[in-house]
């Protein structure tokens, strides 16, 4: 697959939980090699969208195509193995394990040695471990976290935990990297560092990145294309310059027309 080809596309996705319509009729795509952002106010359906993309949620209507194939219902490990890695809004690391071990777990789907070989740590298991460790060390070097290699992640400050989580996602050598609010709760300096890492990951590893972000300013600088959700609907999908000047987006963010949910829906529909 070359840069610019469509890596993943969603077609007419609708997702509801009981009476709550989380996503309504959303279509869009992610192209290989791009940084794709999904933004929207709180409760707009961003995380639901991400969960649909990585197959955790199964939408009631619509299709997900990945690498040119229509995707059926998958078990979580099958999703991981198909080449989509993600980070979480509320950091989901193994707090008692070291940075190194946490990132090593990102390689788990790539390990081929069987349980017996692993237990004896002979032959294939040993070769594999060295191979994976080398890959992980490159990631540690890349993210500049050498000094915390052996530190249990539970002891680390928030910004560094986020970086470790990015490392673990990178270790999976995924075709598509999903970042759920990578900069939430960070101070300005940490945000700038994280931006730099995301750009470098994209440039150096050639990774395709889809990220959700609250902070519009950050997204506009980072992303190649931006999809804007509001109340489960797609209200814009274009390059940052266009999205930034889109009146619907401005209204959605400033809440100009949202007096009540019903009103806003009406406003968007009109």
């Amino acid at each position: 697959m070359t840069a610019g080809d469509i890596l993943l596309s969603v077609k007419n996705i609708s997702l509801s939980f009981g009476g709550v319509q989380a996503l309504s009729d959303i279509s869009g795509d992610i192209r290989s090699g791009e940084i794709r952002a999904i933004i929207g106010p709180n409760g707009a359906g961003k995380s639901s969208m991400l969960n649909v993309i990585n197959g955790f949620y199964h939408p009631q209507q619509g299709e997900v195509w990945f690498c040119g194939e229509k995707r059926g219902a998958l078990k979580p490990f099958e999703i991981a193995r198909q080449g989509i890695a993600r980070t979480f809004q509320n950091i989901a690391l193994f707090k008692g394990m070291s940075t190194l071990d946490n990132i090593m777990t990102g390689r788990i789907t790539r390990m081929r040695a069987n349980l017996f070989q692993q237990a004896l740590w002979k032959g294939k298991a040993e070769r594999e471990e060295i191979e994976h460790r080398e890959r992980v060390e490159h990631i540690i070097d890349f993210l500049e976290i050498q000094s915390i290699r052996k530190t249990p992640v539970g002891k680390l400050p928030y910004g560094l935990q986020k970086r470790v989580e990015l490392g673990r996602a990178l270790a999976a050598d995924a075709k598509l990297l999903l970042l759920d609010e990578p900069m939430a709760g960070m101070n300005l300096e940490e945000k700038e560092d994280m931006c730099r890492f995301i750009i470098d990951v994209n440039a150096q590893f050639g990774a395709t990145i889809a990220l959700i972000e609250h902070d519009m300013g950050v997204v506009m600088d980072l992303a190649d294309r931006v999809m804007v959700l509001d109340y489960g609907r797609k209200i814009a999908d274009d390059v940052p310059e266009v999205v930034r000047n889109d009146q619907t987006v401005i209204d959605a963010y400033l809440g100009v027309v949202h007096e009540t949910a019903d009103d806003s829906n009406a406003a968007v529909e009109s």
Binding site: R133, E137, H138, I140, Q146, S147, R149, D200, A203, Q204
Partner: protein, 689 residues
Amino acid sequence: MTKPGDSSGPARADVAPAAAPAPATAPAAADTFPKLLLDNAAQLARRPALREKQFGIWQAWTWAQMKDEIFAFAAGLRGIDFAARDKLAVIGGNRPRMYWGMTAAQCLRGIPVPVYQDSVAAEMAFILSHAEARFVLAEDQEQVDKVLEVAAQLPHVEGIIVDDMRGLRGYDKAMPAGKSLHDFAEVQQRGREALAHDPRLLEASIADASGGDVAIFLYTSGTTGRPKGVVLTHDNIIITSRNAGVRDGLTADEETLSYLPLAWVGDNIFSCGQAYTSGFCINCPESEHTVAQDLREIGPTYYFAPPRIFENLLTTVMIRMEDAGRIKRALFHYFLEVARRSGARILNREPVAAWERFKYQLGDALIYAPLKNTMGFSRIRLAYTAGEAIGPEIFDFYRALGINIKQLYGQTEAAVFITMQPDREVTADSVGVPAPDVEVKVADDGEVMYRGPGVFQGYHKNEDETRKTKTADGWVKTGDAGIFDARGHLKIIDRARDVGRLQGGGMFAPKYLENKLKFFPHIKEAVTFGDARDYVAAFINIDLDAVGNWAERNDIAFASYQELAAHAQVYGMIARHIEQVNRDLAADERLRNSQIKRFLILHKELDPDDGELTRTRKVRRATIVDKYAKLIDALYSDATHCHIRTEVTFEDGRSGAIEADLEIRDLQTFPAPADASASTVNAVNGGVS
């Protein structure tokens, strides 16, 4: 390819240094760094020259491999038109390629100019344009960005060579006119090809160079005014490094950690000068944040650190011991006491009772050895500290543990070594005897001067300053005031321009007194007055943590800094400390009159936000004299109390005022001790070797 005047003219095969590698019996005749590199590559071919921790593993280069790396880069540099006398600015951390770049430039008879990696773009612009650097070796994108930010001010810069190309995609197309960007690896690769084509490519320029050639420009940071470019020759650095190495018995077996700034003369001497002359291995830490960890893994035998680092390490140890279990803590304090009594004396090979010696051995097994291992000092044979005064407590702590820490006195202008402490003559308050071949004298006005093989050639393009600093017959003024003690050891007292005189005669050296006071953990900051006054008086700032802790243990209740500072018992304790200093001063003929007669404890901490300290926490004397004039007047009156109202800035930016009625206390002063017959020596010390 080559410019007129390039040294790569007719190849002089007859003196090709490649033919030089004789067996290890050859005398150390190499007079330039490239020649030393060739010697080491031949004689120490398979011994490690440099290690770097990368991807979690220490990678090593032998001297032979390092020579290949350096030569390949030098040939590559030549390929991009780097010529003799061109300057190569080197901007980055302690990375192998930064060190290699410096020697590679010297292979082409060029001049490396290391620049502090944390300098801002404007400072960098000054040095790069002042040195007229044609090429820049930058570590990474951060440094490249800084150079490009000021590119308009750098007409001389033609090429930027980058070690780590990460994040620089597309930069080569966006370079300003007349400047190009190169990947270090590519330059080196082209150099390798050129060398494969013509293995003798570099021979002529290496052979033509001699010890008198300029080896490096080192810009001094300069607390006042613009940085000055100190010009040092190969002879300056090599002879000085070799002399000091011989005196300290350095061998090719030493291990050192290279973690101090490249642009600082200290790193240049320890990581380049002495590493090349003694042939030992330097180790580059994985990153600046992993230095402590890497230090433990390497376990250097030869180590240098400014006093601040030793202080911080000791504080960390003490705090961690407070959290240890009761038995461990008791053992620690018991054996620390044993070490204090006999550790330094055992290190000095003085006679020590067998029972004490036994207890020390036991302490070593139980406490000292594990502690030293934690600090990464297990294998230290020799450690140096310099740069500023080190607290005697701190200094003695390390020596008591059996770590041979010594002091030296140096300057960039001297290629570091002016004086150094010989083994077994180590004290906290002196900086030792003159280094080999160095003459040191104290001028009539008290200023320390020196002359020797390391004396710099001049400040680059700054004749005025050169003339002010260096006399026609080669003596260099240090700008520091000092005295020789009875044993011929130099004591540095203060910056010469801060030294004043008391009305009744006698020298007044404020920083010397303040340092002595600050060595007490309870005293955080001190400001002394005395120039053109009848006696010396002091402002004291207590250390809230240390004194707060002391107050807790002595059942003293307090609610604020101000309350604690005004407490009678705190005054009593501080007075005892100052009287201890007075007692020490009484023993010194020149400083006897500097005993502190009156003091007060300030009601607030001196603070950079209020302009009383610089951001690096140095006292702004003029501001304090101005702001607290009323208190100073009271110190020189009979008053026992003084009312003061001070404007303060709170941390959130609001400002307010605090008022206090400060107590002023008189202190006891002491006459000269009866046995003070040993007067201080003030003579020229010849080259002791």
